[in-house]
């Protein structure tokens, strides 16, 4: 197998008594768009800063194309960062901002202008190049920050919460832009985000982090469809959790379904996605649970239906207005159904 | 080279800290030593210079003059300065900044030039040189401080509270005394304490505008120039303690950081 572009080897960091990142090993290939996803304080930014060279790890190694860069400062690494909040230089013009790193590399004259112009074209800054930094909108500043990093032709581009300061519309537009730029230059991007939607739509591979360690790495479909544990299942997408218990090789859900299951006696949790729940009036599936509709939230093409089972479990399902022609009324008792294959069983976690 | 510089940077800053505060400690130290030359070796612990300071014939009147001037300056600049800051806070920031810059001009003047200009002007308008002329002169360089600090506080002040008071039937004056003033009081007191510190410490302008009489600094000046007794260290310590105390309290109250 070919050598990965970036290899993190048992990389770990703590701040005093607080562990920020537990020993972590990741390989990232050339051309990958990789997302580090997790709630705030999970260590994803610390991990990114260690790759960028702004934070020194306690232990472990960082290898880029097989070369150990762990002890190199950020100014000497072949990676560049788009910072959260951008960190543009307000006392310089847009082209000066973009050309700053090249000048540090002693690039000058025609090559400098050409490469700056190339970067401006790449991020489609257009006519805004002549504005002062503080006259630019958030989205435009974002583009300058991108151009400033990309002009360096980094082996890896690091993006720290790149879109968090933008409003929803702009965020979606910039997501497409990031993807386009990534594909156009064939670069390797690592993005840190707490927004699972952003990670799923941007990245080829996602690492889900919690409390300093990586819970799962996989492509978006994998982490969504086959979450590794209860945390991942709830952090990515929406999930119904049904408490259950395994005793003497037999697992039972609170809602009243049992099956044979080997393993120690313990509390379990069953995860089922809202869109996997069907309304038994229409079809027949393996698992059937009677429930009463308690609320309906209209969302346009779909509606979110909140049910309560006889056992007191809250379940959410999705009503698709183009296929589900019958409307269930609030207060109506119906039967919910799903197939066992859509269900994921995890050991129950206490605090999540 | 730069890497080495980064290494010695904390050491350099440590030296600067010593440079900034060392002389203060020396003065205080010498005031408690019986060495008449204010030099090393320190000599024995002694209050002789403090005794001499208190026995000095001019000390009591200089202390009283200093206090009268400083307190008057503190009160006057608090009132005038707060009024001005209130007006500025209602203006467009650009206009307010411009006015602040103009009002700060006396702080920028070399004190000597300000002092001799005031001296000749007082002479021309027949204003007698006494404590009043000193107080007026001090106002020139204390007011900008008070206005600046109070204006900075009012910039983050929520004027809707005042509007609510007006809505509930308070006249502007009542609203000021019941809502605005209680909320900005710490800043105003802090700012006027800075004025007090500046006033107590002033030498040059006082020297030229006081006519007869002494304040503590002008008395110290006389002593340094003539007899050179270590009781200067004692008075110096008094002056330092005065201004240190008022600055510490002022900084705590105003949260002013430059």
């Amino acid at each position: 197998m070919a050598e990965p572009l970036l290899r993190l080897e048992k990389l770990a960091k703590d701040f005093g008594s607080v562990t920020a990142v537990k020993p972590t090993t990741i390989d990232i290939d050339k051309g990958e768009f990789f997302a580090l996803l997790g709630p705030s304080g999970c260590g994803k930014t610390t991990l990114l800063k260690m790759i960028g060279g702004f934070t020194q790890p306690q232990s472990g190694r960082i290898l880029i194309e097989g070369e150990d860069v762990t002890r190199l400062g950020p100014e000497k690494r072949p990676v560049n960062t788009v910072f959260q909040g951008y960190g543009l230089f307000p006392h310089m013009t847009v082209p000066q901002n973009i050309g700053y790193g090249l000048k540090r590399q002693k690039v000058s004259g025609g090559e400098l202008t050409d490469r700056v112009q190339e970067a401006i074209d790449l991020v489609r800054l257009g006519d805004f190049v002549n504005r002062a930094i503080d006259e630019l909108s958030g989205g435009q500043q974002q583009r300058v920050a991108l151009a400033r990093a990309l002009v360096m032709r980094p082996k890896i581009l690091l993006l720290d919460e790149p879109l968090s300061a933008l409003d929803l519309k702009l965020r979606q537009q910039m997501q497409r832009e990031l993807r386009r730029i990534h594909d156009e230059i064939g670069g390797t991007f690592i993005v840190v985000t707490h927004d699972q939607g952003e990670a799923l739509s941007l990245a080829d591979n996602v690492a889900v982090m919690r409390q300093g360690s990586i819970e799962q790495i996989g492509d978006p479909a994998e982490v969504y469809d086959q979450p590794a544990n209860q945390f991942v299942s709830t952090f990515i997408g929406e999930a119904n959790l049904i408490p259950g218990r395994r005793e003497n090789g037999c697992a039972t859900l609170e809602t009243g379904y049992s099956w044979n299951s080997d393993g120690e006696d313990e509390d379990l949790v069953c995860m089922i996605r809202p869109e996997s729940i069907e309304f038994a009036q229409d079809k027949r599936s393996e698992i059937v649970v009677p429930a009463r509709l308690v609320a309906r939230t209209y969302q346009g093409a779909t509606a979110l239906l909140d049910f309560e089972t006889a056992a007191g479990t809250d379940l959410r399902a999705v009503e698709n207005h183009s296929t589900d022609k019958t409307r269930i009324a609030v207060g109506q008792d119906i039967e919910l159904a799903w197939s066992k294959a859509d269900m994921r069983i995890f050991p129950a976690e206490k605090n999540s | 080279m730069t890497r080495g510089f980064e290494k010695i940077l904390p050491f350099l800053v440590g030296c600067l800290v010593l440079f900034l505060i060392g002389p203060f400690f020396l003065v205080a130290l010498f005031s408690f030593s019986d060495n008449p030359l204010s030099t090393i070796p320190l000599g024995n612990l002694s209050l002789v210079w403090w005794r001499e300071m208190i026995d000095h014939p001019g000390f009591a009147s200089a202390l009283i003059n200093s206090l009268v001037i400083a307190i008057s300056v503190g009160i006057a600049s608090a009132i005038i300065g707060t009024m001005a800051a209130l007006a500025l806070a209602q203006m467009k920031p650009r206009a307010a900044t411009a006015i602040l810059a103009v009002l700060s001009l006396p702080m920028m003047m070399p004190p000597l030039v300000l002092a001799v200009a005031l001296l000749s002007y007082y002479h021309a308008i027949n204003l007698p040189l006494n404590l009043v002329s000193v107080i007026i002169s001090h106002l020139l360089f204390t007011l900008p401080f008070v206005v600046l600090v109070t204006y900075a506080r009012l910039a983050s002040f929520d004027f809707t509270a005042v509007e609510s008071a007006r809505d509930l039937g308070a006249t502007p004056l009542v609203a000021f005394f019941t809502v605005t003033l209680p909320m900005i009081r710490p800043t105003v007191i802090g700012a006027s304490l800075i004025a007090v510190a500046l006033s107590i410490d002033d030498f040059i302008i006082t020297f030229f505008t006081i006519g007869q009489g002494n304040t503590l600094p002008t008395m110290v000046w006389g002593m340094i120039r003539t007899q050179l007794t270590p009781s200067v260290n004692a008075i110096g310590t008094v002056l330092i303690v005065f201004s240190l105390c008022s600055s510490v309290i002022a900084l705590k109250l105003t949260r002013y950081r430059g």
Partner: protein
């Protein structure tokens, strides 16, 4: 924005003090610089003689004064950058204490501060005492004391807080990620300092320089206490208002000093404004 005209009245006392006791004195003082003194009495006149005297008689003194002022102001700005930069970017939890020290020493002890240096640098001062007692020198060194260097050291000591604070204030406007970004783009410490920090705290540097320069130019106490035979222009102005009784000449000298100072300060400001990252 709604501005009640009554609110503007609140500015009246401040403006009153400012106009009556700052503008008016300076206008009078300026007029005075064209008067003459006859038989120990001021006499209204229009003569350039005071300016002629002020400009021709004291050239070496002006040279010394402005050299000292320039050296002191420049030193204060450099040390201020060092101190403020350390406090802002490196000090971590020590920052609060370190920024408090110049704030505390800012407001107090003008005379005492100068006097303290007399006890340190003087003939019988601590420095000489210490050097003699460890046997480095035989008799007291006089080179340190009663020299322009002693004047400059004392003034730097007195003025350093005035330089640190405005520089520190403008450094607080620089965000950490700006420096991280520069570093990420390959800038070493020197480039980060010259391309980011200096241009971004231009305003602070300029006001630090102005304050230090003007206060040095007008100072006459320091030369008397630690300068020995050294005289600065202040030492030439004060006697005109004392035993020499030539107020018009004193006024003319003051305005010449002010004018040259403004020139210096303006030149420095322009130079700093031209400082561009390359």
């Amino acid at each position: 924005m709604r501005v009640e005209w009554k609110l503007r009245l609140l500015l009246l006392p401040a403006f009153g003090v400012f106009t009556l006791f700052f503008i008016a004195p300076f206008i009078y003082f300026f007029v005075l610089s064209f008067w003459s003194v006859k038989l120990y009495k001021l006499s209204p006149d229009f003569t350039w003689i005071n300016y002629a005297k002020a400009l021709t008689r004291y050239i070496p003194i002006y040279q010394l004064t402005f050299s000292v002022a320039f050296a002191v102001a420049l030193t204060c700005v450099l040390l201020g950058l060092l101190y403020a930069g350390f406090v802002r970017f490196k000090a971590g939890r020590w920052a609060t204490v370190l920024v408090f020290i110049p704030l505390l020493t800012l407001f107090g002890g003008y005379l005492v501060k100068i006097y303290a240096w007399k006890t340190i640098l003087g003939i019988n001062g601590i420095l000489n005492g210490a050097l003699t007692s460890i046997g480095l020198i035989d008799g007291p060194l006089t080179a340190l004391f009663y020299s322009p260097l002693a004047v400059a050291i004392t003034l730097v000591y007195f003025l350093l807080p005035f330089a640190i604070l405005p520089i520190y204030a403008s450094m607080r406007g620089i965000e950490d990620i700006e420096l991280d970004a520069a570093r990420d783009l390959g800038a070493g410490p020197w480039h980060r300092f010259k391309d980011i920090i200096v241009p971004r705290c231009r305003a602070g540097i300029i006001s630090a320089f102005i304050i230090c320069f003007l206060l040095t130019v007008g100072d006459y106490v320091t030369p008397i206490l630690v300068g020995g035979k050294i005289s600065m222009i202040g030492n030439m102005i004060t006697p005109q208002f004392g035993q020499k009784f030539d107020w018009p000449l004193g006024a003319a000298m003051s305005f010449v000093t002010l004018a040259v100072s403004v020139g210096f300060v303006a030149a420095f400001s322009v130079l700093i404004s031209l400082w561009r990252p390359r």
